[in-house]
Symmetry: C2
Subunit: 531 residues, 2 copies
C-alpha cells in the first residue's frame, strides 16, 4: 500500500544506520523529532465537497487526502503535521480520452478548477489545490496506464499518460524493449508527468531526456484535442511537442503519449572511480563528456557528498578498508566519487571503458571495479525512502537542482551550497549540504544539491526554516545564471523565480499561450506562471 | 560575384556532361531551352520605392532585384524570365541589434512590412515580397556575420545572425573548432536562417540538427528583445528556443545566435557501399542507425538515383569498370549506393567502420573503399550549381523533401515518386524522379526526392508544370503521414499544407503567438501561417 504521508510503498523501509546518525550529529547536532498526525486526524479535517455529483468523480475523504499533496518538503511537513490546509473537492479517475473531455466540459459548466495528476511525485507544488472560491477537481490519469501499441520498425510505443515507471518498463521489457527513462521518482512518477514537467532520467546520457523520447501524442484542451503526429524530425514550423513539454498542465491534459524506445542492450555495467580532488574531478568529467565517449551514465559526487555517502552506507568496517586502499592510491580527504555506466554492445562498451579509464587516470582517478557501481544501480531508487529514516532520527532532508554551462558550474555550485549553509545562521543552526553532478552535457551540467537540517520545535517553525533555505538557494541559482530547474519543473514553488530566466518577453509569450488554451485559467492555476 | 539570377558564385560552373545529357534524353526526351532575361531588362522593370528615406535603407534598383527572390524553382523561373512581379521597396543592412530595433520602430511608424533576409537561399518562398498596399522592407543580416565570443569551457560560440556557412566555419576553425552544420546550401545560407527555418546539415548524425546546436540568443520583436539564456538543459517550462526555431521570421528578427561547437575531430572518412536491392538497402540503413553505431553521416540513394548519379558523373569508362566490379560482386541493376562517414577519434572510428562493414555485409553490401566517399565530400556543395548546367541543356530540376517513421518510409517514398512521375502525364510529359535518404534517425528517415522535367514552350507554362508537380507531391506527403518539410521549412510554398500535420489546434496556437508578437502582422506575412 502506498504511504499516504510520505514516499513509496509502506513495505519498503530505509533506516538511517547508527554510524550515519553519529555522522550527522557531529555535523549539525542531535536530531529533533516531531510528532506526526494520524490519517484519522487528517480525515476529520476534510470539509464537505463543493462539487456536484459526477459518476467519474469520487468525493470520498481518504481519496481526497491521498491526492492533496506531492512530495516537496512543505508537502511532507503538511502531511506529517496533518495541516493540509486545502484538499481537492474531488478526484476523477477517467479511463479514456473521451472521459477527460467530458470532465473538461463539466468543469467549465460548473466553474471548476482542474488539476492534472500523474504520480503525485511533484517536488515543486504542481498538484496542490489552492484556496479559492472555485471548487477543485484533481484529475488523476492512474487508470490510463496501458501500453496501447508498439511500432517495432519505428521503435515507437504508445502509452496511456498514467503509466508509471515500472508499468512502462514491464510492458516494454516483455517485448524486448526499454524506454530507458529512470528519474529517481521512477517507482511512482508517470509518463504524462515526465512530459508535462520535462523530466530527465539517470541514463539520459544514452537515452536522452524526456524531450528526446517524447515523439507525439494527444492533449485535451478546452478548445479541442491537440494531436501531435510522430516524425523523426521536421522543419515544419515550431515543434508543438516543445509547447507541451514543460507546460505543467497549463495548456491541456495529456491523454496519450508516444515515446521512442530502444531494444534492450546486450550489456550494461557501472563503475566507480575516485578522483583525488574536486578540481581534478570536475576537469575529468567535462573532458569525458566533451570527448563524446559513448557512456550511458555519469555521476560525480563532490567531496562532502562522497564523505556523506560513505558515512551513511552503514558498513563502517568495509568502508574503512576502502578508504585505506584509496588513500594508498592517492585519493585521501577531499576525494570525489565518480560513477559511470556503459550500456550497449560488448565491443562498444569495452572501447568506451578503455577510453574512459585512460582519460580518468590522467586526472588521478583510482578505479574500484564494478562493486560500488552495482550498489549504485541496486539502490538508485532508494534515496527518497531515506527521508523517512532521517525524519525518524530527527532530521529533515530536501534536495534542489539546477543546470548551467561548464564555465559556471563550479561558481554556481559554490553559491548554492553557501546560500544553504548560511541560511539558518541567524538561528544558530548548521545545515549539512552536499552536491553531485548527475546529468552532463557537452555544454554544461546539472547540479543536484541535498541539504539536511534540524526541524524546529514546531511544524510551522520548521516550514519557516525551509522557506529561508529554499528562497536563499533559489535566488543564488537565478542570480548566477542557473536555470530554476533542470529536472523537477517549476510548479508553484519555482514560479516566482522563473521570470529571471525567461525574461519579460518570454513570460508574456507563455501567458499568451496559456490564455489561448485556457481563457478561464481553469487548469492548474498558479503553476508555472504566477497569476 | 554572386549570381543575380541563380545559384552561387559566377566563377563556379558545373556543366551537364554529354553522357548525362544522353541519359536524360533517353528518359524524358530532348531538352527545351528558354531564353533568359538580362539584368538590364529586369532593372528597367523596378518601380520607384514607396519607402520614405532612411539612412540604413537602400532603394537602389539592383540591390532590390538581388533581394527579391530565393532559390525555389518558381524563383528560378522568375529570375530567368525577368518576370519578378514584386520587388521589395528597399533593403536595409543593419550592423547592430540596436539598428534592427530602430528599423522595427520605423517600420511601425510608416506601416511597412518587414522581411528578414539571411542568405536568400530559401526554396519555399520565405523571402519573396507580396503585392499589397504596404511598402516592403527586406532586412538583410549580411553585415552581422562576426564571431563575437567563444566560451571554450562550455563550447559555445556567439555569432551575428548573418554569418554564412564559410564565415561560421572559417572563424571557428581558426581556433580549432567546428559547428558541424553543413546543409547543401552551406556556401550561402546563414546561421540566423538555419535557426529560423530549422535547418539540418549533412552530418546531423554526429552534430545534430540546428535544434540541437542552437543554444540561445536574442530576438528583436515589436514588444522588445527576447533574450534566451544558455543552459545545457532545463525543465523550467516550455523551451523558448523551440518557439524561435522554425518561426521563419514571424515572431521577430534574430539578432544574435549562440551555438554549441565541437573540437575538430582527429579523423574523418567517408565510404561508399553498394547494396544489391532497395529492400536490402532500406533494411540495412535502418539496422545501422538503430544499432547506434556512432557514424557521422549516412546517405542512401535509391536505384534510380544511383543509376542517375553514375550516369551524370561524367567518366563513362571508369564508371563502366566500377559497374563490372559491382556486378561481379552481386550488385547489378537495381543496386543502391550508400555513403557513410565516421568523424571522431581513430580508435572509435575504427570500431565504427568495423561494425558498419559487418552489418552491411549481412545485407549483401559491396564495399568500394573511400574513393567515392571522398568524391561525395568534395562535391557535397556542388549539386545546386548543376541546376545551371541542366537548364542550359534544356532541363529543369527541383527537389523536395519530407520525413516519416521507418514503418512508413518505403510507402511514402513511393507515393511521392509516383505523384511526380504521373503529374504531367496529361501533357504526355515524362518526369525523371529519384530519391535518397540523407538524414536518418532511430525513429525514421528524411526522404529527399529530385525531379527533372522539360520546360514548356513558355515560362508561364513551365511554371504551371511545376505547380502541378509540387502540388501533387505535397498532397502525397501530407496525406501519407509525411511532414511537409524535414529541412527546408514552410515559407509560403508549403504553408497551405501545414494545417494537415499541425491540426486545427496547433495552427490556432501558432497564430496566437504570431498575433502576440506581431499584432499588425508586419513580419513576413503569409510565411509559415497563411493569412
Amino acid at each position: 500500500m502506498r504511504r499516504w504521508n510520505g514516499w513509496g510503498d509502506e513495505a519498503t523501509v530505509v533506516e538511517l544506520p547508527a554510524h550515519g546518525q553519529g555522522f550527522l550529529e557531529s555535523r549539525i547536532g542531535a536530531g529533533q523529532v516531531l510528532v506526526d498526525a494520524s490519517l484519522e486526524q487528517v480525515l476529520a479535517k476534510v470539509l464537505a465537497s463543493r462539487l456536484p455529483a459526477h459518476p467519474l468523480v469520487s468525493v470520498e475523504a481518504e481519496v481526497r487526502v491521498r491526492h492533496a499533496r506531492g512530495q516537496s518538503l512543505p508537502d511532507w511537513l503538511a502531511m506529517r503535521s496533518g495541516e493540509f490546509g486545502v484538499f481537492p473537492d474531488g478526484v476523477a479517475l477517467p479511463e479514456t480520452a473521451a472521459q477527460i473531455r467530458e470532465l473538461l466540459v463539466w468543469a467549465q459548466q460548473h466553474d471548476v478548477v482542474v488539476i492534472p495528476y500523474g504520480g503525485g511525485t511533484s517536488v515543486a507544488g504542481h498538484i496542490n489545490p489552492r484556496d479559492g472560491l472555485r471548487p477543485v477537481l484533481t484529475l488523476s490519469l492512474a487508470r490510463m496506464s496501458q501500453l496501447l501499441e508498439i511500432d517495432e520498425q519505428s521503435l515507437i510505443a504508445t502509452f496511456g499518460p498514467g503509466a508509471n515507471g515500472p508499468q512502462v518498463e514491464a510492458q516494454l521489457r516483455a517485448k524486448g524493449y526499454t524506454l530507458g527513462h529512470f528519474p529517481q521518482s521512477w517507482e511512482l512518477s508517470t509518463l504524462g508527468g515526465w512530459v508535462a514537467s520535462r523530466s530527465s532520467g539517470q541514463q539520459s546520457l544514452r537515452y536522452g531526456r524526456i524531450e528526446q523520447l517524447f515523439a507525439g501524442g494527444k492533449i485535451e484542451t478546452f478548445a479541442g484535442t491537440l494531436e501531435i503526429p510522430t516524425f523523426p524530425a521536421s522543419a515544419a514550423g515550431p515543434d508543438l511537442r516543445e509547447m507541451i513539454l514543460g507546460s505543467e498542465g497549463r495548456f491541456g491534459i495529456i491523454s496519450e503519449v508516444k515515446v521512442r524506445i530502444t531494444r534492450l542492450a546486450e550489456e550494461e555495467k557501472f563503475y566507480a572511480v575516485f578522483l583525488p580532488s574536486w578540481s581534478q574531478a570536475l576537469a575529468a568529467i567535462r573532458s569525458l563528456v566533451q570527448a563524446r565517449v559513448p557512456l550511458s551514465m555519469l555521476r560525480l559526487s563532490n567531496a562532502i557528498e562522497t564523505e556523506t555517502q560513505l558515512a551513511l552506507a552503514g558498513h563502517p568496517e568495509q568502508i574503512a578498508l576502502l578508504e585505506k586502499y584509496l588513500a594508498f592510491r592517492g585519493a585521501r580527504a577531499g576525494k570525489c566519487m565518480l560513477t559511470f555506466g556503459v550500456t550497449g554492445n560488448r565491443q562498444q562498451n569495452a572501447l568506451s571503458i578503455k577510453q574512459a579509464k585512460r582519460l580518468l587516470k590522467g586526472f588521478g582517478g583510482v578505479f574500484t571495479g564494478t562493486l560500488l557501481g552495482k550498489k549504485w544501480a541496486e539502490n538508485r531508487f532508494r534515496f527518497p525512502y531515506l527521508r523517512h529514516g532521517l525524519w525518524e532520527a530527527g532530521y529533515a532532508v530536501d534536495t534542489l537542482e539546477t543546470a548551467t554551462d561548464w564555465a559556471n558550474v563550479d561558481h554556481l555550485l559554490n553559491q548554492v551550497e553557501d546560500s544553504l549553509r548560511n541560511a539558518l545562521s541567524a538561528e544558530g543552526e548548521q545545515v549539512h549540504v552536499f552536491t553531485h553532478l548527475s546529468h552532463v552535457y557537452g555544454e554544461g551540467s546539472s547540479i543536484y544539491t541535498s541539504y539536511v537540517f534540524r526541524p524546529a520545535a514546531s511544524y510551522a517553525q520548521t516550514l519557516a526554516r525551509w522557506s529561508k533555505l529554499k528562497h536563499a538557494a533559489s535566488l543564488a541559482i537565478v542570480n548566477n545564471r542557473g536555470t530554476i530547474s533542470h529536472q523537477h519543473g517549476v510548479g508553484r514553488d519555482h514560479a516566482p523565480y522563473l521570470p529571471v530566466e525567461k525574461g519579460e518577453q518570454g513570460i508574456a509569450a507563455l501567458k499568451a499561450l496559456s490564455r489561448h488554451f485556457d481563457p478561464d485559467q481553469r487548469l492548474a492555476p498558479g503553476v508555472l506562471l504566477e497569476d
